[in-house]
Symmetry: C2
């Protein structure tokens, strides 16, 4: 009888139309059920409207039966979670992690393999992951495919970049979902290595907007020991299916139970600010695993970097990309090398004079003569400086001026070589007092056949962060897989590039004015971006009359990016001599904070505009950043975020009346007004422009 009852109960569980789980506020609802063939499926509703229609879930294994059908529900478990935590550095001092959870314990008939699906429903969206418990019938396994569906209901406006296994450094395409076509994009875009995988395969984070005004974002969190998920779009039926990045032999992931997949996330709101301000991705990552975080500090820095991008100097010492020089073993200087001891001292002087924390020097070490495009394994050793760069002298000079040096490790994507040298490279950093490293991965990956977004490389980037933590070093990776919140777990992973950064403006078709209005809805959800803003000499014709390239913003928008592009590591990317020409505008870069007590997104529309105010940590200072796309924009901002009763001096950096990113990008005006929380400020943004404001409490 007892058996009979439990059987009935079991059947009931399986037959239930759906298990319903709501977000804490009740706005979002998730329904789970098994299809008649025993396939897990889910539906997501926002304010009772279906946003994700029935979408099936499953994993395919190599040399084993697929885990997508024939499942039975063993158990269902609901729970709620609500806690706050303090990030070491962040957009806000305290982050709330509040969700309702449903754990569906499944077992597959015949194979007896157990697989759980864990759903979490937040007020900004839903997340799910696959969980493989410890079990007799599944120990080591190879994932050949993940078949998670995200079925949409309408032909949304979509901001997409192609599913490239090796790069996310694309301009965003803004089309209807039905018009996604990676073969139509302009490939003359400055990206060095391209591995586009299919006509309608695109990348996440994928930002969309429904015809009726719902904002929708599909992404992932906590990608650890797993490849990056791209998305196959069925453009006719508005369906998306996970597309895992393969390794050299076509496998996707090597796992050992017990283990979990990354979280798949669907964020949604009828207010875009809920998405751009969401901390859901961070919340889905493991808490901080570093005991002593005292070395993890914000850094504002300058560096020997932009001068190479604009052609003033070179990374190499003896002839760029010309191995014929280096092969002799006799490096003959060209005289254009940027990373000299003397030039470094000049940057240190500038940094010290203007209150910066650090100086980055790229091109300091031997190898640049044949670093790019050769798929060469042994390029750099990360410890041997060029003859004109004196490590001891630089250390002493920086120390005397209280400046921290930032190490640079370009790997040219020869990861095998980097890992081989990593301990020695970090030992050198400790010896010479470098607290942070910027790494680079330009080129085709070695081990050959691997991709930037495959499991091998995801593991590499995470490994470097962990090993850096061993040495109490901070990491800022460029050309890495895009982050998915791992900086919560390893906050020494202080920033990454992993999207199209400002540098593309120097030597390619560049970043259109809308670019920076999308990144906060996509790339920045996963963690801080080292976008390297602050370019004052906007047009490259300044350096070379024949050049037509330019930064696609006004000067003031470059200032605003320090607020809109959250990062505790921020470069003032332009040359010292250029800043010295505009000391009043430069003041904002000197003033702006890097770590925040609180952040409020005041206005947001992906692809169009963004306005955010942030309060500096343990301070009464506030900073505002407002940016627009190619269209001029006016708005009025209420200052009700300021502390009531307090007076503030607001220094307003805005585009001059006739400013225009293309025709007149540098023109700006600066005004100072006294304001309170009752004040309003009118913002006037030029085409491709912005506004930056600092609010200083008056004592």
């Amino acid at each position: 009888m007892k058996y009979f009852l439990s059987t009935i109960l079991f059947l009931l569980l399986n037959m239930l139309y759906a298990q319903n789980t709501k977000s804490p506020s009740g706005t979002i609802a998730l329904d789970f059920k098994l299809t008649p063939s025993g396939q897990p499926s889910y539906v997501v509703k926002y304010k009772n409207k279906v946003i994700i229609s029935e979408s099936t879930l499953g994993i395919k294994l190599k040399d084993k039966p697929a885990l997508n059908v024939n499942f039975e529900i063993d158990n269902l478990k609901n729970s709620s979670f609500n806690e706050s935590w303090q990030p070491v550095l962040g957009e806000q001092a305290t982050i709330t992690n509040h969700y309702n959870e449903l754990v569906v314990a499944l077992s597959q008939k015949d194979t007896h393999i157990k697989m759980n699906i864990i759903f979490r429903v937040f007020d900004e969206g839903v997340a799910f992951r696959y969980d493989f418990p410890k079990q007799k019938d599944l120990n080591y396994f190879i994932i050949s495919d993940e078949v998670s569906q995200f079925n949409l209901t309408e032909d949304h406006k979509t901001f997409w970049i192609p599913g490239d296994f090796d790069s996310q450094e694309y301009v965003y395409n803004e089309t209807l979902f039905s018009a996604i076509d990676t073969q139509k994009i302009d490939l003359n875009n400055g990206i060095g290595v391209k591995s586009i995988s299919g006509k309608t395969t695109i990348q996440s984070p994928l930002m969309m907007k429904s015809p009726s005004g719902l904002y929708l974002n599909i992404f992932e969190a906590a990608v650890v020991n797993y490849p990056i998920m791209h998305l196959d779009a069925d453009v006719k039926n508005y369906k998306l299916t996970s597309h895992l990045v393969p390794n050299a032999i076509g496998d996707k992931a090597y796992l050992q139970a017990p283990c979990v997949s990354p979280w798949r996330t669907v964020m949604m709101s009828d207010d875009a600010r809920d998405i751009v301000g969401s901390k859901m991705i961070l919340n889905l990552n493991e808490p901080c695993k570093i005991d002593d975080t005292s070395y993890i500090k914000p850094m504002k820095y300058v560096g020997i970097w932009w001068e190479m991008h604009v052609g003033k100097s070179t990374w190499d010492y003896a002839g760029s990309q010309n191995a014929q020089n280096a092969a002799d073993g006799q490096l003959k200087p060209t005289g254009k090398h940027g990373a000299t001891t003397e030039n470094t001292k000049r940057y240190i002087d500038f940094a010290a004079k203007n209150g910066f924390d650090g100086v980055l020097v790229e091109g300091w070490n031997v190898g640049w003569e044949d670093w790019f495009g050769n798929w060469k394994e042994d390029v750099f050793d990360f410890v041997t400086p060029y003859p004109d760069f004196n490590l001891d002298e630089v250390r002493a000079y920086a120390k005397a001026k209280n400046i921290k040096m930032i190490m640079h490790h370009e790997t040219s994507a020869s990861v095998a070589n980097y890992e081989r040298h990593l301990d020695r490279a970090f030992d050198l950093m400790k010896k010479y007092d470098y607290p942070a490293v910027k790494s680079g991965y330009v080129g085709k990956i070695i081990p050959r056949g691997e991709f930037h977004d495959g499991q091998t490389m995801v593991n590499h980037f995470n490994f470097v962060a962990r090993r850096a933590a061993d040495y109490k070093l901070m990491l800022n990776s460029h050309e890495s897989s895009r982050p998915t919140g791992y900086s919560r777990t390893y906050p020494n992973y202080i920033a990454a590039e992993a999207a199209r950064g400002n540098e593309f403006n120097a030597w390619s078709n560049g970043n259109p004015p809308m670019h920076e209005t999308i990144l906060p809805f996509t790339r920045l959800l996963g963690g801080p971006m080292d976008y390297t803003p602050g370019i004052f000499e906007i047009k490259m014709s300044y350096y070379d009359k024949s050049k037509t390239e330019q930064v696609h913003t006004t000067l003031v928008k470059q200032l605003a990016l320090y607020v809109t592009m959250y990062s505790p590591l921020q470069m003032a990317a332009d040359l010292p001599e250029n800043y010295e020409k505009y000391p009043d505008a430069f003041q904002f870069i000197k003033d702006v904070a890097l770590d925040w007590q609180d952040s409020k997104y005041l206005e947001a529309e992906p692809g169009d505009y963004l306005t955010v105010v942030r309060k500096a940590k343990n301070s009464e200072q506030w900073f505002l950043g407002a940016i627009t796309d190619e269209n001029a924009r006016q708005s009025e901002i209420k200052l009700d975020f300021l502390t009531k009763g307090k007076k503030y001096k607001a220094i307003i950096y805005e585009d001059a009346k006739d400013a225009d990113w293309k025709k007149n990008p540098i023109a700006y005006k600066i005004s100072t007004v006294e304001v309170t929380s009752n004040s309003k400020i009118k913002l006037n943004l030029a085409p491709g422009g912005g506004t930056a404001i600092s609010f200083e409490p008056i004592k």
Copy 2:
């Protein structure tokens, strides 16, 4: 006119029937010519008889025209070379390197690519390599195939193993060349990972014997930054063509000019002793690159190893190959762990008592619970001991007894993981006074898709040797690519397994009695082998009545192997308690030297027998080793190698009259006689037997 003359000269050069180069003694002759299509080709004659008939040469490039036709000769250069050099450790104190060289400078019409072919003709054979000089038209390039032919003239008797990209641990097949068929071999042979590439693809070193009695060996030397060469056999036409081992995506080698290929070698003689005693492979390698070689010392060692092979104990601590235990993070001891502090002390005691240098301990470090067959990346960290192995205690105990500990690094072929940890692993060795490491590569390679014999792994093994040299450590690799003389350049690479070692006798169909008579003609040409001889308890039924496995030799043949299998690193592989039962026989292992003033091969026939005598370095002691295959053998040896006028005490270890590897393997007798250089000794070898003799000068 000058131009006209040089044109005539040039045409003459190209039209010359052949460039002839002879060995110093004149016995071997090499003819080079271009075919009418401009393809490089060569012919080799021995005593005026064609041994290698016209064979063409060339390299195919990825995404570039093939470098095998349309060549013209730019220049021809003949030279002679004769020098002696002293290996740090070796079969002889001084090695002569004597050859005549022909450098053919070629350039390809249309592409203007320059490629040289360098031929060296020694008295034991010929060698050639491809040389890519620094040039404008060839910088970085990818080799997609090497098409070097070795065309034979007869249906030779051939000792072959299949062309397996991952293993050379095969039993040798003895067939006619025309009968080579890798699909006919018994695959139930104990080899863990097999990647056999084709029906008639076989490995080098390839030992052959012509119907008329000429011994012929095809091999390679100085494989550096290049994959291992296997051989495609055209069994109908007696032709062999190089077959390079590919990487994960099918490419063969990534090179940058200037660079060279490895040497391809063809050794030949009508006396088999010329081949087994040849130092041609070492001579073709670069001289020693280590300045201070004082730490490179011979080592005789025992170890916690055979007891795992015979099932007495285990490598793992908590359940062999059962990740379920380890996944808990709670290791529960099975009680069968071999590498305990106590057991290690027992081996140290035994080593000290018997005058050994070192003790190897396998299974000392965490990871063995799920090390094998899982293609898992993070298995070992090479620094964390099991709870019952105390590094400090072992160090102190070994130091007090003047014993050196030998480190063990099983990588389970997760090379990426090993390289990541290598500096830390070597740091630990230095901290705990381990002068040498035995490494292991059991399993499928990670980076996944790579093979043990590909360029990536060749580079890895050489890299580990070089990095070990940084730390002044000696290296002994197991399951590595077979050596090709790199130990001349890095003599700290003191030994390798890289062929079917003695261990297979413990748990597989084992090594047939002929096995050890072939290895000196094949595997050992490339460098010392850690064969781990010295098994006294021959039959595994000694440990477990149900077992039928056994060592396929007599006990005395195990003694003889210390002389026939040259290695400066020699294990006494059996258990201490087994040696203590046979102290008189064990005396030979205690006495035998490891480093030699001179070696003389007295009798040699591949697959049948081998007799060698060696004089200990800086000593008047001589040691003789004689072995036979499954057939009993008698012979008489002249002792004219002994110093004239000196008297020696010869201790003769021989098979007992009724000894037989299968029926009565342990039976031996020991006799002592006084001898001089005028004496003769009759050798009586049982089926699968041997003889070992030590000659001690009488003062």
